[in-house]
Symmetry: C2
Subunit: 330 residues, 2 copies
């Protein structure tokens, strides 16, 4: 079993590679080789029981996909993307990476599939996003709600979904698209992303640092932990394609929870002292951006196909404490 | 007022050009020049009160869009497409024309918009299709139903819609996408399209020729006349963009009617003798294809924005008799 991870240097990509190294196998098959591709060199996971190759490449270069796919991997995880804020600022770059890069990848797989006489037909797991949805929403967003993104990033992800469906329908590869919730608690330092505060108000107080909350406590959002994100990817790699049918892109399960409920969970898990480190500094700009985001889904199809996320924000906080604080101490 | 029609040699494109020649104006402004572009030379409408230029070009050639847009038209009608059957047979060609051709057009307008310092921001009317929807459907398809096409053609149209929304949102042009119903009665000769019989069973008997009906009488479908299609295009060119909001692609109104109701309308309009020319020859292949097509919509948004179609199939037949039989005799 050969695996290719594109976007391997990102937070989810690294955690996926680490998990593969720990498991040594995917879908019950021993992994022989993992290629880690990203625009920068990816660090290979420690103690991997398989060969790893790290390549620094730009997927907007049309020749790159052929190089990445040369060993005909059995599973391709395509996680690489210019994120929302940057794709909005830099229109050309967003389309070059998120649309052209994805299309070069799919098209190169198709060429390889045909060159192999149909023998090579890899599973392709594509990370999409709830950014494919644009306001106004229904109170709860059902699986059949339409995609009218209000960002270039969301547009590019929605196009990737359509291409994935069509290439899969034609039998060129076996694709599964997964729309990730906002990943929380995001490890690392606070960043400039408008969504950063959802993680900041948990991660920083847990280690005794003040964090700024720019919105009101009643703001609801859709969360899953980094561990769930890796679980979604592994399940999407393993699931029987026939059980999915032609609609290959799925909203992943998550937890709809308000900022106030996040804070109550922090109080239960880490106590009053942690909560006291949250400083309320309203930011009208962030309030306005967040008001356009989806809040709550009913991801029936993904649940019925066996995808799983956390059931409480307490659990999301505990995943963070275990993976980012206790494991680092050990 | 300068107008560009891409796909001007097709049935709807020709009727649009004829209507513009008759009106001499669009949105209340006198037309000075119409460029008629298609892969073959388009015939200029007779007695046009404006200058016409006919160009035979391949929009899959990246350099073509700049040539078509050189005079900075105020309104661009983008009707050109590889049709469903051919796009399904020839994967590369469908993507080259329907996706790349559309993207070159949009991107060249964006470059021109920026080069003009924002002064040039044309209305772009893009013909999409109900093929963006894929079975299973709800009994009636609402405006917020998702796009999960089951053909490459539908995929390419759905991608065009997403691009049109994003380029419009960013202010590069002012786009309106219209999803056409099946156009009925299609003039001309019977063709190989799976949907051909919807028109054949009316058009042929009206002139005393036998026509084959390959499906049962209870098959329901979504129709509008060629005259309505031209009306949709003119209304989409004229409508105030602000009234549409960011969701720029609309399912056009139409008439949901069964084959049996079509035949009853033919009986009312043309009598028993015409109906007797319909020969029932079931074709399992066509039955299967048609079963995957949408049948009925509730196009609330388009209706509230003033788009209009026929209210009865009798009216659709009368439009055909007037435009294709009586006018040709006159």
């Amino acid at each position: 079993m050969r695996v290719l991870i594109i976007g391997a240097a990102g937070m989810v990509g690294r955690k996926l590679a680490e998990r593969l190294a720990k498991d040594g196998a995917l879908n019950g098959k021993t992994i022989s080789h993992v290629t880690l591709a990203d625009v920068v060199a990816s660090q290979a996971p420690a103690n991997a029981p398989f060969k790893t190759t790290s390549v620094a490449v730009d997927i907007a270069d049309p020749s790159v996909a052929a190089r990445l796919l040369a060993d005909r991997p059995d599973v391709v995880f395509h996680l690489a993307a210019i994120v929302s804020g940057e794709a909005e600022q830099n229109f050309d770059k967003g389309y070059a990476i998120n649309l052209d890069g994805t299309r070069y990848l799919f098209e190169t797989i198709r060429q390889g599939h045909m060159a192999s006489g149909g023998a090579w037909r890899p599973r392709v797991v594509f990370t999409s996003s709830i950014a494919v949805f644009g306001a106004p929403f229904h109170e709860t967003i059902e699986d059949e709600f339409f995609s009218t993104p209000l960002t270039s990033y969301g547009t590019q992800k929605a196009i990737g979904e359509l291409l994935l469906n069509d290439y899969t329908r034609k039998g060129f590869f076996d694709g599964v698209g997964i729309r990730l919730p906002t990943i929380c608690v995001r490890p690392g330092k606070p960043n400039a992303a408008a969504s950063g505060f959802f993680s900041n108000i948990i991660r920083e107080p847990l280690v005794g640092i003040e964090a700024v909350l720019p919105v009101s406590d009643d703001v609801m959002h859709w969360h899953a932990s980094p561990r769930s994100a890796v679980g979604f990817l592994l399940h999407a790699a393993a699931i029987d394609g026939a059980s999915i049918g032609p609609r290959r892109c799925l909203t992943m399960p998550g937890l709809a929870c308000t900022v106030g409920e996040q804070i109550e969970a922090l109080r239960r898990v880490a106590g009053e002292k942690a909560v006291s480190l949250i400083r309320r500094v309203p930011d009208e700009n962030i309030v306005r951006i967040v008001a356009g985001w989806p809040r709550k889904f009913n991801p029936k199809r993904a649940l019925s196909l066996g995808f799983k996320a956390e059931n409480s924000f307490d659990e999301i906080i505990r995943v963070h404490i275990f993976e980012e604080i206790e494991q680092n101490r050990a």
